[in-house]
């Protein structure tokens, strides 16, 4: 059946089988492979995308159910060549090791900060509790989100010569 949705601000229309899962639609139909596909069982959270601004596990949403909705993937985080503060935070605070969980983690973080610009560490941990980092790098992920919260207007350092600064986690949580 034919479905249309907005993905990262762009209108897309495709003819697909109803049984196609949103994660496969995004990766295979749209070629946006930044959304990862992990456990297939709604447990790992690496496939998280934002649907109308809310994090959802795209392995457990049918693409047809996203018809008419707005989807945001990791490719839609940066705007006009400027990294989202969350992306910047993951760089500053070493929020990724192997990187497999990172797209989902960053999108959940973006949604959290949109709702709650100043979450404490417990709120961040709660928000990402449905997502697994198999490198177990949770402490740095939490610090990365805190960095983003403390630098809501962070710019890509390549673009403005590192004006965002090299803040430490201590400063961020103080």
């Amino acid at each position: 059946m034919q479905i249309s949705m907005k993905v990262n601000g762009n209108d897309v229309t495709r003819d697909i089988e109803p049984r196609v899962l949103l994660v496969h639609f995004i990766r295979e139909e749209l070629g946006l492979t930044g959304t990862h596909w992990g456990c297939d069982t709604t447990n790992c959270g690496t496939c998280v995308v934002l649907m109308d601004g809310q994090p959802v596990k795209s392995c457990t949403v049918l693409a047809v159910m996203a018809d008419g909705h707005e989807i945001r993937t990791v490719e839609g985080l940066a705007a006009d060549g400027t990294l989202d503060p969350v992306q910047q935070g993951f760089m500053e605070e070493h929020g990724l090791q192997c990187g497999f969980c990172t797209p989902g983690m960053m999108l959940t973080a973006r949604a959290l900060l949109d709702r709650n610009p100043h979450p404490d560490a417990a709120e961040i941990r709660e928000a990402i509790s449905g997502q697994i980092c198999r490198c177990t790098g949770y402490a740095t992920i939490v610090r990365s989100v805190q960095w983003a919260a403390a630098h809501p207007l962070a710019k890509d350092p390549a673009a403005d010569d590192g004006a965002a600064g090299a803040s430490t986690a201590e400063e961020v949580t103080a």
Binding site: T60, M65, A127, S129
Partner: protein, 292 residues
């Protein structure tokens, strides 16, 4: 890669349309809302519906309304909305207790109360919650609307009173003065199904004794509440030895099975201890409540 078997899909525009679609496509059609129970089963091919009727657009079923002496919750209400509702937290803290430990925040953005109840997994938390709150389920079908008690709603694991051509539309919770409720769950890891959980709801008399109590257990083979344990509480002052006695009765009444989540004696121990804790918190909340 887990992919569901092929099916046809149709989006319902309202409740009447959903019922017409269910009627038209027959018993091999299934309703999908959040999809977080049905889609995993379809991916494992444990469920193979010919038709999916998508009810996510039925805004008329997405509400939390305090009306007179009841709280009305639409079947399409997401877990996240229940968790965030001030009315729910104030009137029925047990719902908030349970919602905090149902899956994870991302899953709770999609999953619905109606879906959880209709899936009727034996380890599902909201069934126990609705049991002890003596909730009513409003079901609509081709012959109109009917309201059933939770005792009538439950038909065993994965089965409910909702027929294939019907739709669970609403849950109604009676609001009672001087009441309190609580849910206590032990799971292996965050977001997992319960090893065992206990729910309790109490209403106190003006003199502080227990006027009415309901106790339910999750994942230990118990249908409905534990009337024997509820009976010992009736008319008595809520205190520790009473909670312990009710816990022992509840543990004896349940029928857990050994599985990867633990052996029978461990689960029975949890049933006793969690019943005691749930009663303790429910009574403390009832004593503090001004929700008349």
């Amino acid at each position: 890669m887990q992919i569901p078997a092929a099916f046809d899909y149709e989006r319902a525009s309202d409740v009447a349309n959903a019922l017409a679609l269910l009627e038209r496509h027959g018993p091999e059609s299934r309703v999908i809302a959040g999809g977080h129970s049905l889609l995993p089963m379809m991916k494992l091919r444990l469920a193979r519906p010919d038709w999916l009727i998508d009810i996510n657009g039925l805004a008329e079923l997405d509400f939390i309304l305090r009306e007179g002496d009841q709280l009305r919750v639409g079947a399409l209400t997401r877990h996240a909305a229940l968790l965030e509702s001030a009315d729910v937290a104030g009137l029925f803290p047990i719902i908030r207790d349970a919602e905090r430990v149902i899956a994870d925040p991302v899953v709770r953005n999609r999953g619905t109360i109606g879906g959880s109840l209709c899936q009727a997994d034996p380890a599902e938390d909201l069934s126990t919650v609705c049991d002890v709150l003596r909730a009513l389920a409003v079901i609509r079908g081709p012959d109109g609307e009917r309201t059933v008690s939770m005792a009538d709603f439950h038909r065993g694991p994965y089965e409910t009173a909702v027929a294939h051509n019907e739709l669970l539309c609403e849950i109604r919770y009676p609001i009672r003065p001087r009441s309190g409720s609580a849910y206590e769950k032990v799971e292996r890891r965050v977001g997992d199904w319960a090893i065992v959980a206990a729910g309790a709801a109490v209403a106190l008399s003006a003199d502080g004794t227990v006027e009415d109590a309901a106790i339910g257990l999750t994942a230990v083979g118990l249908d409905g509440t534990v009337p024997e344990a509820e009976a010992v509480l009736h008319g008595r002052q809520p205190q520790e030895d009473l909670f312990a006695e009710a816990g022992r009765i509840a543990a004896a009444a349940c029928d857990p099975v050994a599985d990867q989540r633990g052996p029978v004696d461990y689960k029975r121990h949890l049933a006793e201890e969690l019943t005691r804790r749930a009663l303790r918190r429910a009574c403390a909340r009832a004593a503090a409540a001004g929700n008349g």
